[in-house]
Symmetry: C2
Subunit: 403 residues, 2 copies
């Protein structure tokens, strides 16, 4: 397996595009994205567990109920959520793009992201669709740009891998960067692959993967109403279709996880206002659940996040967040270290502080990517969670998001 260029267009048969259609007032900001597979693909999705769901979630669920999809349409600038006519608008988006592409409206994955509770006008979308289809090409960038909201960078990655002697490719794009605290689903992520895999195995791979990838990311503790991850697999790589567990399935899962983990790190690192990517690595837990609970509790702590912004080795906040996580841990066995490109510094041993150089700690914590290493010393399970620091800019961005 190796990282390659191409993003969602790395896999055979996929093209993509992004245009400004007018949902956003800023004309330099693309707001409508399309991903198209020349061949109908098996499709798997996971969705937000928020009871308040965007209308596109409901429509997509219906459309992929048969296990197939051929295109993704996604707008930014408006979440099409908590609107009286949301379902109608989402269905209309599917009909319009399907007609232009000459495919069935029930083969469309539809998604929206942006402000909640404002009516989404179909007019600019209808107007933009012909250009959107015309612009389709083997280039990820415009689509990746068009799904961005407060994101500061496009999030795109791809890998190649081999199944039964055939080269397969897989790639994805994602948008963060606020209202990020996925629970059995995630922000918006669209993955494409030319690997041949049955819908059942594709869903199995995705549902398992999100547990250790997107569900381990938190920017601000707020689970979005419009979270969705979709994977389309069109089979054009020509490998023998994966229909059961085994070496081929494992290889596919590994490639999928490379894409999703890469996107997780990008999403967390580009969290709203973030200056640092935080990675909390827990080991020595007595169960997987304990490791997950502890790592997520630390990554979600506002106090810990603010301390990391200030490059302050305030490990007491790490202990505090472990203590209230709900996990049953032996506090007196916990070790904590901070690590980055500048080195590693141990700050807590057996649940109590140890002497350390504040100067070196500052150096370690001034880097852009910080690992907090937590050893529970009570077993063999581990977990990794991703987040970001809490900064002035988070407050600024969210103090006047709508205006």
């Amino acid at each position: 397996m190796k990282q390659i260029s191409g993003g969602i267009c790395a896999a055979k048969g996929f093209t993509a595009s992004g245009v400004h259609c007018g949902i956003r007032k800023n004309k330099t900001k693309k707001d409508l994205a399309l991903i198209f597979s020349e061949k109908k693909a098996t499709a798997a999705c996971v969705y937000t567990t928020n009871l308040v769901k965007g209308a596109p979630i409901t429509v997509t669920k219906n459309n992929v109920a048969d296990g197939y999809a051929q295109a993704v349409i996604c707008n930014s600038g408006n979440a099409n959520t908590c609107n009286a006519n949301g379902i109608e608008i989402a269905e209309e988006m599917c009909s319009l793009i399907a007609k232009e592409l000459g495919i069935s409206a029930t083969d469309i994955i539809v998604a929206s992201t942006g402000v909640i509770g404002q009516t989404l006008d179909i007019a600019p979308i209808a107007e933009g669709i012909p250009a959107l289809v015309k612009e389709l090409k083997a280039d990820s960038d415009d689509a990746a740009a068009a799904i961005m909201t407060t994101d500061t960078v496009e999030k795109c990655v791809s890998y190649s891998f081999e199944i039964g002697g055939k080269e397969c490719k897989i790639g994805g794009i994602a948008k963060g960067s606020g209202m990020i605290h996925p629970n059995m689903a995630t922000m918006l992520v669209f993955v494409t692959t030319d690997c041949a895999i049955s819908q059942q195995m594709l869903q199995k791979a995705l549902s398992e993967d999100v547990k250790s990838s997107f569900n381990m990311v938190s920017v601000d503790g707020d689970t979005s109403t419009n979270d969705m991850v979709s994977v389309m697999a069109n089979g054009l790589a020509g490998n023998e279709e994966i229909v059961a567990e085994g070496a081929d399935f494992d290889e596919f899962c590994k490639a999928l996880n490379a894409v999703t983990t890469h996107l997780c790190r990008m999403i967390a690192g580009d969290g709203e206002g973030a200056t640092k990517l935080l990675e909390c690595i827990v080991d020595g837990a007595d169960s997987k659940e304990t490791a997950v609970t502890v790592s997520k509790s630390v990554i979600c702590s506002s106090l810990f996040k603010a301390a990391m912004f200030g490059a302050d080795a305030n490990w007491g906040r790490v202990l505090c967040a472990i203590g209230y996580s709900g996990a049953d841990v032996d506090v007196n066995k916990i070790d904590v270290s901070f690590k980055s490109a500048a080195g590693q510094i141990d700050v807590c041993k057996n649940g109590a502080g140890i002497d350390f150089s504040e100067e070196i700690a500052k150096e370690v914590l001034t880097e852009k990517e910080i690992q907090v290493l937590i050893s529970l010393n009570s077993g063999d399970f581990g977990a990794t969670a991703w987040g970001c620091d809490l900064t002035y800019d988070y407050v600024k961005i969210n103090g006047d998001y709508r205006t």
Copy 2:
């Protein structure tokens, strides 16, 4: 029942003091507080549920196991938590103050608040204790000041009420203002009363009260390691001792709740960096639990809190926070309004947005105390939770708390 002056010294037989003993470097900041009852009092406490507990919590639990206490000693500037010798230091604090007061060391409630994981030196405390005892007087202010950390205002309140024709008094002091997300306990709150009430009934009253008072406050979602609420009742009001439920007990609970609710509002309003007190009032829930879950979820949402800082009527974030709260609600029945001294504005009806004047909304949300009113329209239960907005100053305060 009426509000009176006097704080923790309003009730007969209680005196208090606060000094700078040298735990903090800033000599103008008091860091050691004492509350003393001339008569041994029945005592009830609730404590943090954080598994990482400050050493003073453990020592206090032992000391009040017999149901009695006569004094509270509390330092700020150091939490005496996650230290190898924490218990020893907390016990030493009890011995020293007990000796100076001429009472038993097991009648002391001891508390600490400040940085976690730094050894607490007993020397300045030992040195400060004689002055602390000498300064005892019928004045709440110095003690209220000495327990403050990042608090910007002293938190103090008292009420008088009548039991069987006898006037009783009750008062309390509290410290916030970060790491505030109590769970079956709270930040530091010390309540005194001269009402005669058995230990069993006092504990019952307190344990019940915190469910609707301190457990409904969140500043930042971080449950502290040192949370504690204690009540001492010395019986000097001369009423017939309350030993069972009934009208007298109800009257006492009402007075206790007046004190605790007042302190809750003060703590939330003085949350770290806060510019606004947020009060989330839920009604029409199908159970008390649903009402509690919904109100706390909204008050804890970073996105909602940042929107309130920006006076942005972004009600979609309220819906979002209800949706991921875990409560089983019918989204399509939810109404949301914002209310303050400037008026009320309805923004969401039946789970969807309604037209409203952004100008009036801005006026409503520019006030210092904001109510978000949520009607679930599914039953007769309600709950109120308190919090504050998320501001630049929260980040600033917590980016370099230790330095």
